[in-house]
Every structure is written in C-alpha cells, then in structure tokens.
Amino acid sequence: MRNCLIQKLLTGGLFFLILLLSGSYRALPASAELGYTPVTTPNGATLDWKMVDGVKEFHLTVEEIEWEMSPGMLIKSWGYNGRTPGPTIEAVEGDRVRILVYNRLPEPTVVHWHGVLLPSGMDGVQGLTQKGIPPGETYAYEFTLKQHGTLMYHSHGDEMVQIGLGSMGMFIVHPKTREKKIDHDFVYMLNEWYVEPGTSTPDPNVMTDFNIFTFNSRAFPGTDALVVKAGDRVRIRIGNVAQEEHPIHLHGHSFQVVATDGGDIPESARWPETTFTIAPGQTRDVEFIAVEGDWAFHCHRRHHPMNAMGHDIPNVIGVNQDGIEGRIQELVPGYMAMGEDGMHQHAEHGAHMKGPANTLPMMGGVGPFGAIGMGGMFTVLKVRKNYTPGEDPGWYDNPPGTVSEKWTK
C-alpha cells in the first residue's frame, strides 16, 4: 500500500518535471468540478442548467420586468428570467446545449446567439431563419458548441424595441483547457438607454441622444465594485449590443487584449492597452495582473460616466450670477444659482436636492475624499492584499506619502 502511493507520487512528479522541462506550461485544468473558473457577472447572475440526456438544457423566459438601474431609479424592461442583461450562459466548448425560450412578451421574439457557430436554422433571426416565437409559446434552440470565447445572446425580432428595452445577455463558452489560470473572470454587457426624467419606460425610438449608460444595466452609483486580490490574474470580458462604441478605461493598469468575439488572439498578436474600445456587436476580453489600490473603471466618453442631464441647458460656466439669484428667489423661493464654477456643486448637493421622480442625479457617489461625481458606465476595481471574498473591503488605505495633498513647502 505504502509502496503504491510512493509510486504514484513519483510518477506524477516525473510527469510534472517533463512538462516543466518541455518549456510550455500547461495550466492545471479549470475548476475540477465544472471544468472552468466560473465567471462573475457584476450585479448579474449565471443561468442554471441541467443535463438532460447528455444535453445541457437552459431555460430562458423573456418578459416585462421591473429593473433597478440604481437605487432611486426603476425602469420597465423586457428582460430574461427577471433580469437585464439576462443571466449569463456558461458552457464549455464541445457541449451540446439546448436553450428553451418561453416568450411572455406581448409580441413575437427570437433569440440570436451572437458570434456562435451553429446551424442556420438555429441562428435566431426572425423571419429569416425561423418564425418568431409567438407570445405564450416556447421554442427550442439546440446546437453543439464548436468554439470557445466571449459571445452574446440578444433578441433579433423588433430589435430596436426589444434590445432597447434590455433583451440581451452574455454567452461564455470556456475552452476545454486553459493555458493560464484566471483568478477572476468578470463579464459586462454594455447598453445605452433614453429614459425621460420622471418616467420609467425607456424610449426605444431614441437612436442617438441617450441619457443613461450602463454596465450590466446598472448605472453608477448602482454598479458593484470589482474586488480582487493583488497579484491575481483578472480577465474582463465586455460585450456591446448598444448603438455606440465605448472606449473602456482601467486606471492603474496596463492590460492586454486577449480575445475578440471571433476568438482568442494569439499571444504574439496581443496588444497592450489602458483603454479598449468595443463597438456595437463586438466583444473584447482583456487580462491583467491586479495591482493594489482603488482603481476607476469606466467608459472614457465624457458623457457616458454620467447620468441624465439636460443637453439644452444654458452654458453658465464663468457667468457671474451675483444679484440674479436673489431676484429669482423672489419668484422661485427654492432656486439656487449653480454652474458658474463648474458642475461639481451638483455632485456635492445632488443628494440633498429634490429631483424629478425616478431620476438619478447626474453625478453621484461618495468616496473616502468626498463626492466622486460620476454616474453611468463607472465602477471601481478594488485590489487588496487581503480581503474576505464576498465582502466589500471598504476604501483603500493608502500608504503614507502616496496620497496627493496640499503642497505646503
């Protein structure tokens, strides 16, 4: 018995030595139970499945739901399984998957598997590859996954309305084996919305002048922070079914773009970025080694990390309002002059001012040094040496001498 064990150990060790000496590191297999490191969809969820006769069977129900974009703002959405984006589908290359789609919308719908290589009739294009799923009925999609990567699923019937109201989700296909272990795998879906202030139904007729920008259908300060350990390998996957391209910037890190919606980028072809752009219809994966600190992670189009603001309001930068405030207060007692010195006043006072019902302040969020003054596509990557998984570690405790302060010398 004892001899048998020693034999196994020696065999394993020799095997490992050969691998090591071969010059190509082959990672340990992904999670022993699942075969992969499951992704985390911040503010989202992963879709459950069950094996039915060797087929991974997923169930999606598309229906009208009430969705919180951020505390204080609820919208009417057409989501999957009570969510927008719908729960992330995770599978492994080679899996045969069956996805049952139950339509509870008031009009026909289909689901397109964006980027998935599959039979034409399973592609999910209403009128072209199939008949639209009538309201109240369930259709089945079944195919074998012949690839791995970051893919998407979304409505392809009356897209303008249905995607505009949130009918979308991420579809992650893991490779059977992975070269490098990923410690944290985050998934984001981008979207833009127009929600008239004071209302709760997004207007799908708006094509360009959006006012709410979301990570996983959440707007800051309603976006969860990403919490990882210093030194972890982090992958962030982003899909975009919106109308505009989004240059997503991560502070404090340089990362590599490692995959597109078409597949992995060979290592020699990967390029470094601190900002990567995802156009509508694209997905991009980036990887980096996490560095300790609190790091902003946001779209770099200035308008996008902000919530709704009026685009036709007067430009009051540098406009002297002495004397005018008092005159206006004679007519409108609650009036307060704002904007002469920039919009930071709004960030500071937004929490105290009464705004339209069901509307987020343009800028919000409070950090350890005061108002952050952001919204929309913004969140924070918190990297710590030590933290308790599942718990927010609070704000980063900057080492002495590493915080920008008033110069007194």
Partner: protein
C-alpha cells in the same frame, strides 16, 4: 237782511257752498296725497343726497373703497340722476294739480237804462264747471300713473348707473390686481435678459441669442407699460362714474375680487322674473295704464262742457233768481279722433310690450350664457389650470436641481403660473360684470348664495391670491452658504 235770506238766496248759497265743499274736499285729499308724495320725494332726495348718504371723502382717504361705497357715491354725484329727480318733483306737482277741481266763476253785471237814469239792472251769477268735478278723479289717476312711470324711469336710470359702476369697479380691481402680477412676469423677463447679457459677456452665447432674450425683455417692458396705462384709464373711468373731483382722486380700491358665489339661478326662473320685474317693461305697462285712463278721460269728455250755477238779477227793483246749466252738445264732435288715437296708442304699446318681453327673454339668455361661461372659465382656472401651472413650476425646479432644465425654462414656467393667475382674475372679473348685466337684464338684484363645499379649494378669503405652495427646500442653499463661509 230778511230780503237776502229768500229761498232763492239760500239755494244759491247751498249750491255754492256744496261746490266749495266738494272742491275743498277734493283739494284736501289731493293735498294729503301730495304730502305723502312729498315725503317719498324727500326719501328719494335723501338717497341722492351727498351729505346724508354717500361716504365722506375723508373716509375714502383712510379706508379702501368698497363696491357699496362706490355705488352710493356714484348715485349721489350723478348729475343726470339729480336732473331726473327734478322730473319726479314735476310729476308730483302735476299729480297735486290734477286732483284739484276748477274754481267756480262769479259773474256780476250792472246795466243802466238809456231811457231812464233811475232804471238799472244788476245780475250776479255763480258758475261751476261740473265736468271738471266729474273727471277730476280720472285726471288724478292719470297723474298718479304718470308719477309712477317717472319713478320707474328714475329707478331704471339708477340701475344703469349701478351697472356702469359695477363694471368700472370690477374692471379697476382686476386691472390693479393683474398689474401687480404682471410686474412679476416682467421681472422674470428682465432677469432672463440680464442672465443672457451675463452669458454673452462671458462668451457663452452668441449675440443672436442674447439679442433674442434682450428683445423679449424689451417687449415685456412694453406690455407692462401698456397694462399700467390701461389701469390708469380704468381708474379715471371709475373716477368719472363716481363724480369725484381731481382733489379727491387719491383713494384705494378694495384689493381682492370677491370669490365665486354658490350656484347661479336657472335660466327659466330668470326669464320669468324678467318679464315681471324689468323696469323698461314696467314703464311700458305703466304707459299702457296711462293711455287706458286717458281713453276713459276722453270718453268721459264726449260732452265737451257742462256747467251749472245760480243767477240772480234785479230789474227795476224786482229781483229774479234761478239756476243755470249749460251743456255742450256732442252733435258733430264726439271725440272720435281722440278715441281712435288712444286706441291706436294702446295697440302700439301692446305690440311694443310683446317685443320687449321677447327682447327681455333674449337679453336674459345672452347675459346668463355670459355668466355661465365666465363661471366655468373661472372655476377651470381656479380648480385646474392654476394648480397645474404651480405643479409645473415645482417640477421644473426639480429638473433644474438635476441640471435637466435651465434657468430660462424655470423662469418661463413661473411666468406661465403667474399668467394663469392673471387669467383667473380676469375670468372672475368677467363673472361679476356678467352678473351685473344679468341683473340689469332681469331687472332686479339676484342674491348670491354660499358656495358649495369643495373637497379641494384654495383659501377662501382671497380669490385673487394663488393657493399657497410649499417652497422647495432651502437646505441646499443653506449648505451652499455654509460652503462659502468655511
């Protein structure tokens, strides 16, 4: 002595005395009625007396002019009404005169003979127009009806003055109230213009946009000037109606228009009252009664003359005494023309009455329609439009707080709110003027009723003030100030 107390003399004396008594009696009755009439005139004259009835000018300087004061002043100071009061006095005098019978006539003749100087004939006669006695009551009745007609004409004139004063009063009230509101609208335009100037100075807007705002500010100032002028004109008009001199023009009108009263009477009821109560109809009916009595008088005068008397004459010492009666004989002239004339007048009056009754019903209907429309408009503004406009300002404030709307939109919304309050005041003014016109059309005052209880209503005491709105929190302003202090 004995000779004079002959049977004939006694007869003469008795008849003469009787005539005197009849006349005196008639005259006395007329005199007592005249005394009553004088007291009525006295009362009317008192009501038109500046000193006894109208408020003093001193009082006007200290307190605000109420509608009641204005009406009393206007009636007391109106020269046309004063002149019509004289007509009433004239009618009174005519009535007094009409009740008096004609005086008897005494005739004496002394004739001397051409043949003999001793012979002379004397004749004494006493005549009394009997026809005047017979017709005196009819004449008096006619004069009484005429007097009643003049009374009604005076009342009608007073009613017209009342309508004019009420129109002028409410017009001025509304003009002054809306002027104070419009100053705030103009102030908002001025602020917007000033704001645009500052933006332009900072290089934030083009000259075009600045010019647009500046022009709007100028036009608002022009509109304000026009309103101020209209208010001054309304004041002058009311001064004219009140008959005040230049030195007594510095009074202040009651600030608030009266709120809408309870439900207005139904049209059918008002039309029925109009045909009974309207003074122009009453005047025409009085004229009808007058012509009827005149017809009776004419008919009673078919015998053109009737007189009776006593005569006594002596000739050559011999006295003859007897009675005399003279009667005009209606052989050729039986007053046919005059009778036909009166009948024609009656027919004409009858047709005019028909027309006037139709006219009255029509005027009441039109006036009621105006009243109803004005009420609905005032209620709509009070209950729905003004509260909505106030809500709009509040919602714009919320958008402004979140930088979703700008200061121009906020000011415009505030202007809209104030304008709706002005429109409410004008609708309320229109209601009260329409009510005065309706009362004129009906011919009498229509008492107001208490308003029905409403579940949501602004504060009752002032129809002119907007419902109070909770002001937006000042916390941000306090914090703003704190930020400046630290």
């Amino acid at each position: 002595m004995h000779r004079f107390l002959t049977r004939k003399f006694i007869y003469f004396t008795a008849v003469a005395s009787g005539l005197v008594v009849i006349g005196a009696t008639t005259g006395c009755a007329t005199a007592s009625e005249a005394a009553d009439d004088y007291h009525f005139s006295d009362r009317v004259e008192q009501s038109l007396s500046k000193d006894l009835f109208a408020p003093s000018v001193t009082t006007l300087m200290k307190e605000r002019l109420t509608l009641s004061d204005a009406l009393r002043l206007a009636i007391a100071n109106n020269p046309e009404l004063q002149a019509q009061l004289v007509d009433l006095n004239i009618a009174e005098a005519n009535r007094l005169q009409a009740g008096l019978i004609e005086n008897p006539e005494f005739e004496a003749q002394v004739l001397f003979s051409h043949e003999s100087s001793d012979k002379k004939r004397t004749e004494f006669a006493l005549h009394q127009d009997v026809l005047s006695i017979i017709t005196s009551s009819t004449k008096k009745k006619i004069a009484t009806i005429e007097y009643g007609k003049v009374q009604k004409e005076l009342a009608n004139a007073i009613l017209k003055v009342t309508l004019d004063v009420r129109t002028g009063y409410h017009t001025l009230q509304a003009a002054e109230k809306t002027l104070s509101m419009h100053r705030r609208i103009a102030e908002a335009s001025s602020i917007a213009s000033d704001f645009a100037k500052r933006q332009y100075s900072a290089g934030n807007i083009s000259k075009l946009h600045y010019s647009i705002e500046k022009a709007a500010g100028e036009e608002a100032a022009i509109e304000l000037g026009r309103r101020e002028s209209e208010t001054r004109l309304a004041r002058e008009e009311l001064n004219r109606l009140l008959g005040l001199s230049d030195k007594n023009k510095h009074w202040q009108i009651a600030e608030q228009l009266e709120s809408l009263p309870g439900p207005d009477p139904e049209i059918d009821e008002l039309q029925a009252r109009a045909t009974v109560r309207r003074l122009d109809i009453a005047i025409l009916r009085q004229q009808q009664r007058l012509v009827n009595e005149e017809l009776k008088l004419v008919k009673s005068q078919i015998i053109p003359s009737l007189a009776a008397g006593v005569v006594t004459e002596s000739e050559d010492g011999e006295r003859f005494t007897g009675g005399v009666i003279s009667v005009g004989l209606p052989i050729f002239d039986q007053r046919q023309g005059d009778i036909a004339l009166k009948n024609a007048e009656l027919k004409k009056i009858s047709k005019l009455l028909e027309k006037l009754e139709v006219q009255a019903r029509y005027e009441v209907k039109i006036a009621h329609e105006h009243l109803d429309a004005a009420r609905k408009e005032a209620e709509a503004y009070r209950d729905r439009v003004v509260p909505l406009k106030q809500e709009i300002v509040k919602l714009f404030e919320e958008e402004y707080n979140y930088m979703l709307s700008g200061v121009y939109q906020l000011l415009e919304a505030k202007q809209g709110e104030i304008q709706s309050q002005e429109d409410y005041i004008m609708a309320l003014r229109d209601y009260w003027i329409a009510r005065a016109e309706l009362e004129r059309a009906v011919g009498e005052q229509i008492p107001t009723t208490e308003p029905l209880h409403r579940t949501t209503r602004p504060t009752r005491q002032s129809a002119s003030q907007p419902a109070s709105q909770p002001s937006t929190e000042h916390h941000m302003h306090q914090m703003h100030n704190k930020g400046e202090e630290s």
